[in-house]
Structures are given as structure tokens and as C-alpha cells.
Amino acid sequence: MAVDAQTVHRLAELARIAISDETLEEMSGRLGDVLKLVDQLQTVNTEGVAPMAHPLDASQQLRPDRVTEQDCREAMLALAPQSEDGLYLVPKVID
């Protein structure tokens, strides 16, 4: 089952990805293939099986509350396309 064009556009918007009309059909088919795989998984009887958050049968290690990181601002800002006064610059965003 292919994913319809409207859904592909919506997913693209949520993912902030531009999709051209040429790639729309291919994308629709590939997403459909993913859903086919999911459908296949859905056929497995999971009655009484607890949902799994992670494939490893282990629990998370926690770390003590200590400041271990140094200021790395200059190195990081140097990677950004634009910065000023210690701030990263981005196209204006207003809610």
C-alpha cells in the first residue's frame, strides 16, 4: 500500500524536508514498503508480551552531579554559519 501524497507532504513538513514533485512518487512507494514491514510485524501475536523500550536487557547507569565540561564556545561557534556576540544566528523566528 502506497502512502498518499497528502501524507507524504505532511511528513515532509514535520521533518522540515523539501520534497519535489519528481521524488514524491518514489517516496510514497518507499514509505509504503516500510508500512508493509510494519503490517507484517503486526501479525505476530504479542498477547502477554510487555512493550520493550530498548533491545538491551539492562538498565541505565546514572552519573554523579558534577560539572565536567569546559567552556567550548569559541570552537563551537566557529562551526556555525553565522554568529555574533557569542550567539548563534538563525533566520528570525517568532511564535
Binding site: 541505565q60 554523579p64 560539572v67 565540561e69 544566528l89
Partner: protein, 487 residues
Amino acid sequence: MEWEIVIGLEVHVQLSTQSKLFSGASTRFGAAPNTQACAIDLAMPGTLPVPNEEAFRYAVMFGLAMNAEIGKRSVFERKNYFYPDLPKGYQTTQLAEPIVGAGEIEIHLEDGSSKSVRLHHAHLEEDAGKSLHDAVFSEGHGMSGIDLNRAGTPLIEIVSEPDMRSAAEAVAYLRKIHSIVTYLGISDGDMSQGSMRCDANVSVRLKGEEKLGTRTELKNINSFRFVERAIKVEAQRQIDLIEDGGRVVQETRLYDADKNETRSMRSKEVANDYRYFPCPDLLPVELTDEYVDTIRQQLPELPDAKSTRFASEYGLSAYDADQLTQERAVAEFFEAATQHCGQPKLVANWMMGELAALLNREEIAIAQSPISAEQLAGLIERIVDNTISSKIAKQVFEAMANGEGDADAVIEKRGLKQVSDTGAIEKMVDDVIANSAAQVENYRSADEAKRPKMMGYFVGQIMKASKGQANPQVINKILKEKLDALL
């Protein structure tokens, strides 16, 4: 028609850990932009988050204080959305298995009544950075500046059930949360610095109706006062809308404090779909019963327990005990001052009277009080031992507030010591009697029953002559003797 307002609150509380929820970068407030944002906070490739144990300990403390279930197993999930102050493109948060489950707390209203509010759950999550839009750049290039120092700071989001029925109840609930987190010492609770932020879900329905009305969400209200005003104005907007035949639209609205109105934040963009899923970088966090029990045993005395103790141990009224225990720093000030002077009721009166007025006027917290607990106790001691009258004490208090030193220093320097010296008072009484022939005559010719009242005039004159420093009991005694001798 009688309307009922239904309110649920989502409160974000910044936890006062040293380092971030998933990285070892500092969380200190007020650092230069981006100096506390490390590779993990910036979502650099190849980095892995490791959760901060202290954040879990704080969240468990909070859950226990809210009489809530503790999630012995909690799972972090990714909440996906794009915004420049969120470098990863998702917020690491909890959804299906939060650290704190359902709970319940008592809130206390101004009229002395109490009510129970249910907690839906509370979860741990990371804060985002800050976007700076206007007037930060000298050049008008129309860009936004991003400071990621706050990105990754641990928060607990506390979600209530829609149990509140008025703006006043919402404020009382918020104050209770504030009180609990500051008592626990897990947050500074400073709303002005954004350490505590509040979103309110507001709907209205006809009284007696069971079904909830369509709600709107008021975002980011940043003071207790605004919470009250925003809810009132939004509820009224909904009521007016429905009474005019309209329908409430479920949406996010922003409260504009200057105009005292709410307005829609609806943008043309499609509604968000956060596409939550368990974070593959983080395993489920499992806490043992022993871990939780140890924290339970270490919990400090909480506001309600302290209030009950203040009433029984110090003989305060329920109201006074409640007022003095809402803030931990206030309660500690009270106990410190009482320990010094042994006068709990006088300490309570001075704290809720003069001291509260002073702090209000100066807009400062009790921690910044210019008069320490020991200094207030020193002043009260001088009232109790009759060195000064209560009236003069107010003068001394003002002088102490202005940094003129301890009560004894002010009394000494300004010569405010109460005059109990009989000789000096006798002289003042004689002078006043000598200068008040008419009043003396009236006193003599009056009925005996009316005479005590007529003494007021003389006492007033003598107090005036002594600049308020003569001991009133001594004046009364000498005056009566002298006037009666003239009969």
C-alpha cells in the same frame, strides 16, 4: 446562568542541580551566552547522553512530598519538533512511564478553607535554550540569536488534574508547589528568572454540568499575579463568547499582561505532531525500593507538618502558623528569632506586620532582609524588658532597616530609651498640670466616674513632652496621685 471555571496546571520547575540532565555542563544562571553548552547539549554527532543521578533524586523527593507513586522504572522518550533553541530536533522527556505517578496535595485558600488537588503525574525532561529576537544586535540584520546555556537543564513538569475551580485556587496550588520545591531545596522556584513556569488549561461549563468544556491552554505565565489575572480574563472571554452564541476553539493562547487580555498563538502551520518514541540512546532507569526509602527518610519537614508544629509548639493561630510556613526561609527566620528572644507571638506579629511590609515595599525576599532574625529578636527583647514602648520600637525598626545597626545601638544613639525615672516624669507631670489650669478645673469638677477618661489629655501632653519615651505606667501612677491631691 451560573458558570463554573475548570483549571488544570502544568508547572515546569527547574531543578537546581550543578550540571545538566544529560551532560556535565554547568547550569549556573547568568553566564555569558553559550559558554555552558557542551557537545552533548549541542547535539554533536557521536555524543551520548548520561542521566544525572541528582535529578532523579530530586524528582523522587518531589514525588514523595506530593504523596505520589514513584516510577521505579522510568523511560525517556523523544518529543520531536523543530525550533532553533532545540539543537537535537527533539526534547528528551518522559511520557508513558514517568518518574512520578498520580498523587494528591492539600491547598490552602485565603478564606481559611482547604481543598485537595490531584496530581496526574510529573516527569523529568530537559529545558530548551533561549531565542533572543529584538534589540540584542546593534546592526539590524533581522536575525535571531540563540543562547544554548539553558539547553539540557533538568526540569520536572508537574501536571495536575483539572481540579481547580477558580483563579484563586490555581494560585494557591501554584504557591503550594512553590513551597514544596523550595522546602525540598530542589529548585530556587524563582518565577522571575524562569526557574518556575506555568501553563494553564482553562475551560468553562454551566454549574452542575459534568462534561468538561473545550479548553484553551495559556502559555508561559511568569508570575503568581499574572496566573490569577490571565485565568480570570480567559475564563471571562470564554463565557462571553458562549453567551454570545459562539464556540470555544481548542488552541494555545498567550497572555498579554500590558493589555490584560489573551490572544491566539495559532499560526498557519499545521498542528504539531510530536511523534514520541522511546529514546534509543537511553536505557530504562530503574530505582530500587531501598533507594526510594533512603530518600523518604531524608525528606525535610514539609510546610503542612511545620504549620501544625508551629501552632502546637509556639501557640500560634492556625492562620499565623500557615502564613509563617509557606516559605521555608520565612519559617527558618521565625524559628531563629524565637530561639533568641523566646517570644513567638511577638516575633510572629512583627514578621507579618512591619517586616512583611518592609520586604514588600523593597520588593525583596526574606533572605535579603536588612534586618536579621537575631536583630529582630534583639528589638523584641527591648520591648519585653520595657526599655522601649511598642510605638518607639517601630521607629527603631525603621532605623535598623536603614542600616543604623542593632536595636541597642539605635536606642542608644537616638536616645530613645524609655524614661521610667520617677523624678524626671514627676517634673513633666508638674509642668503639664501647671500649664493646664482649665483642664485641671474641669477634672476637679467632674464626676468621679468621668475622671479616668479625662486623664487622657494629660497623659497625651506628657507623652508629647517626653517625645513618647516616658513609661506610660509610671506616668499614669504619678499623674493620678498629683491630680487627686488637688481635689
